[in-house]
Every structure is written in structure tokens, then in C-alpha cells.
Subunit: 332 residues, 2 copies
Amino acid sequence: MVQTNRQILLASRPEGAASVDNFRLVQTPLAPLAQGQVRVRNHWLSLDPYMRGRMNDSKSYAAPQPLDTVMIGGTSGEVVESLNPKFKAGDKVVGMGGWQEYATSDGSDLHVVDTTHVPLAAYLGPVGMPGVTAWYGLNRIIAPKAGETVVVSAASGAVGSVVGQLAKSAGCRAVGIAGGADKCRYVVEELGFDACVDYKAGNLYQDLKAATPDGVDGYFENVGGDILNATLARMNAFGRIALCGMIAGYDGEPIPLKHPQLLLTQRLLVQGFIVSEHIDVWPQALSELGGLVAKKQLAYRESVAEGLENAPTAFLGMLKGQNFGKQLVKLI
Amino acid sequence: MVQTNRQILLASRPEGAASVDNFRLVQTPLAPLAQGQVRVRNHWLSLDPYMRGRMNDSKSYAAPQPLDTVMIGGTSGEVVESLNPKFKAGDKVVGMGGWQEYATSDGSDLHVVDTTHVPLAAYLGPVGMPGVTAWYGLNRIIAPKAGETVVVSAASGAVGSVVGQLAKSAGCRAVGIAGGADKCRYVVEELGFDACVDYKAGNLYQDLKAATPDGVDGYFENVGGDILNATLARMNAFGRIALCGMIAGYDGEPIPLKHPQLLLTQRLLVQGFIVSEHIDVWPQALSELGGLVAKKQLAYRESVAEGLENAPTAFLGMLKGQNFGKQLVKLI
């Protein structure tokens, strides 16, 4: 039986941009399980933008992560030992195991999953939190009608890629915003969006205008800042904005909304949301998303870093958009 | 029979702030009525912030008012001549008669009203468009629960005064924002709000914080700019913002939203709206508001300018907050 765990702790809080110095890799002994506990060997660690918010010591929707504790994070893996009657060794599970190779849990965060048709890693992507995030924002906030135009930022990412594909299924024109020609090509050619605007090239507003000749009815926002300002100026009357993330401001840069008057003159709806607060929709959303992935009707892409020790670098790269699709760490 | 009408036309579009030079008073002959037409002697003209938006030649929710036409505006008055079977001389009516002493209409904008218990002028205030605006934003967007805190800006005005009184009736803590000690005293002592913050005195954010010890659950916005920025920073999780007006930006000044991240971190709902697009609620709202006014359970105040020729000055004063309560012009 393995006696040692490897973990990454939050060592310090970022001042401005996060850096590798904010993290610390430690080795810790594994204590014997207590009654009711489950031990999971994490195979996959999910890296997500929300983690950046937790690193700050500021008021947000979640308490800051305490210093010197294991970084929070979604994981999927296999039960290796269980003193909990709901789980047995060999079960494939998803949970909130954190940035570590072994997680010890009372089972309350764990769900057994079926990997017959859906890969274990996909439960951290299109059939996990990112997928449900896309599903909720699109179906419950934007609520698109066939023929409308839906725009999503970070379109090649874990959430954005699902938003656009679901919007296409709903009969909408799906337009992505992404950084770089490669990502934009992927968004159009492999994900099937109608168009994709490269925010790093040319004039964002003019390019978005060309890609949305009938204006924008629904906007799924992951980025904020200049991208939000440009898209807001394209919104049609009675448009809906699902506010899911504002990664542009995570390091503390000001990202003012330049023309809030547009919210009034176009009678827009804006709704900020956190998918973990809408657990009522998860069963339906996961069932639909799992079915689409199993039938290969929902495309997705993963960026995989190998080894726990590479998680900080992969995380920092993701915050800069260096990943391509869902950022995962394979815990070897 | 009177043969001459007096009218105020939009003479030119403002560059920056509006001025009296943008208006022109003219005398015009009254043509004989055609079949189906109604002639109304306007007794009261309503002056409202939305009119400022119509003076610009820019994209908004309504087409710009054409130059050299009678300024748009709500009116109440009395039918003096009718070739329309739905109206007879002596009927008291509300309509969109515009800035003129006599309005000639096909009757489609006119509604006969009962002045037994509700004064004719009140149909332009608490029992008219401003009242329904308050009713809609509070009940259909903010949807307050007893015990919550509701804040409204321009609290002593035609809309804000109704918002706060309805919020009190719903069991909420009602907090106003208004300009000057007199208005704040009126808001608390005569309208019955729990508190009122004078945005012209002291530190707006600190004063608002003191007045909203449990944060803000619902915000009814008439002003925008600094006031919106301060209130946004007090919003509780799952707060709702009814966006009704942004008078701070009507002359074209930038009024950026400084921290749009709060919309996400507090999971806020923002909904811009125009009450004329929600005609389905008008009968219910007017019935409730009329009942409250008739029973003297809804207080309101009017600023009355005398004579059509004084409408431009009164209008410009209202845009600067120099009115106190609903701004009307009595057409002598």
C-alpha cells in the first residue's frame, strides 16, 4: 500500500498576476482510513479559471482558499480503498479531490461514473462542471430561439465549445471569440460554429460586426473587459447576457464597462451565475451532455499536462489562454 | 371656437447639455376636425427624462424626435370637440398630446379617466406612466421579499417615490437616494422611507453603507454613474437591479461601470426596461395605484410650471434635479 501522497499547496497569495511561487509541492504521509472514508487515486485533475479567484483574499462568491492547504480542484479517478459502504475499490469516481495524487474523503463529494462510453477525463469537461455551466447559461439564461445569434467568448475552451455546439443544435447562428487563428479555425471547422472572431487580430469590434450581421441576441461571457465592451455594442433589443466569467480581471486590472447605457437602451438582461448553485439542473444537463458525447455528437478537445508537478505551470498558461480546449493534468 | 394653437417644437438637437435654444414656441391655426378626430384642450403636460433621449439623433429604444415637430409628451385634459363616437365633449382624457395647448387625435392614444377621486394631474404621475414604471420594475424585476432592502435613486421623483412606498408595503426596508437635505427629509418624513442618502452631501458610499446595514437586495436605478457604482458595491448575492433610467449620461458624459465583476461575483440580475413595452401590466398596475391614491395611501408631490412657454425651462431644470416630485406644466 502506498504510504506517501504528493500535494500542491497554496503557498502565498498573488500580488497582481499569479506565479509558480504561489504554489508549493509537498510530500505527506497517508494516514490509515477512518470508518466511512474513501481513498481515491486521482487520475485527472481539472484546471479552471475560478481557481484564480480563490487564490485572492477578497470578497467573492466563495471563501478564499486558506494558505498552506491543498489547492481546490475537480478530479476523476479510481477508488483504491473504502471503509464507506457506498463505494468499493475499482469504482470510477468524480469528486473534488484537489491538486494531489490521493484524496481521502467521506464520500459526500464523490459520484460513481460509467466509463463504458464516456472517457473518465470527459467527466471533468463536457460531461462535468464546464459542460453543465454551458448548458445552464445557454438554456436557462440566454434561452435562445431558432434563428437568433449567440456569441460566446473563450469559444475553444471547455465551456465555450459546448455553448456554441448547443446553440447550433438549437437552430441559432453560433459565433465564437477566441485568441489566434488556430483556435478560430478549430472553432469553425471542428466545432461547427458559423464564425469565429480572433480577438488578437485586426479590429475586434469591426470583425465581430462582420460576423454578426443581424446583431447579437444572446451572449455567453467568459472573459470581460474589451471583449464585453465590443459585444455589448452589438446586442439587439431584448438580448440576454449570461455572465459566467471575467478572466480579464482576475489579476486585478480594471475592466470597466464603458457604456452601461446600452443595458437600458437595448433593454438587456444580464445574469451572473455560478453553476454549483444550480444543482437542480445537473442531472438533466449531465444526462443530455453524456448522451451527446457517447454518440460523438459533441466535440471537445483537451490540453493535457503530465504529472502533478506541472499543474502550476499549466494553470498559469491557461489563465493566459495558452491551453487549447479543456486544461487537464494527468496524474501519472 | 378657438382658432389658434400654441406649440413648442424641437428646433435643434443639443450638443452636450440641452438648452432653451433647442426649442421654439409657435402659434398655428387649428384646422377643422376630420371625421373620426377628437380635439383635446390639454390642461397638464408631463415632463419626463426620456424626452431628453428623444432629442438626440442617436440609436436608442425610440426613434429620435424629428426636428420642427411638436415635442412629444404625455398630457391630460378635456375633450372640446369630437367627431369620434368613442369620445364626447367634456370627457376627461389622458393621452400623448405633446407640448401644445390643443391636441388633435384619431383617439387611439386617448383614455377617458374618472376624476371623482383621482385628480386629473395624477394620471400623469402616480396613476400614469411614472407609477406604472415603478410598479413594473419593483414587482416584475426586483420582486422583493419581506425583510429585504430596496434602494431607489431619484427617490423624491415621480417614479422613485412610488417605488419606495410600494417596497414598504411589501415589507421591505426602503432606502432612497436624493439630492439635498430637503428632498431627503421629504422622502423619509412624508413618503415613509426608512432612510434617504443625500448624494450631494458627505461620502455617498459610506452614507449608503450606513443606511443599508444588511446590504441591498433590490435596486431601482434612475440615475446611473457614480450612484450606480456606489450601490453596486452594496449589492447582496442574488440581488436584482431594475434599470429604468440613466439620467447622469443623457448629455453624453461617460458613465462607466467601474466594477462589472460584481455582477458576476454577487450573481446579480440586471434588467433594462421601458414600461411602454409591457402594456399587459398596465390595467392591473393602474387599478392598484389608482386605488391607493384615491384612499390617500400613496403620497406624491408635484412641481408645477405655469404656462406652455415655461415648459423648456422647467424641463431643463428637471434634468438637473431642480424639480421636487413630478414635474408638470399647467397649460393655462
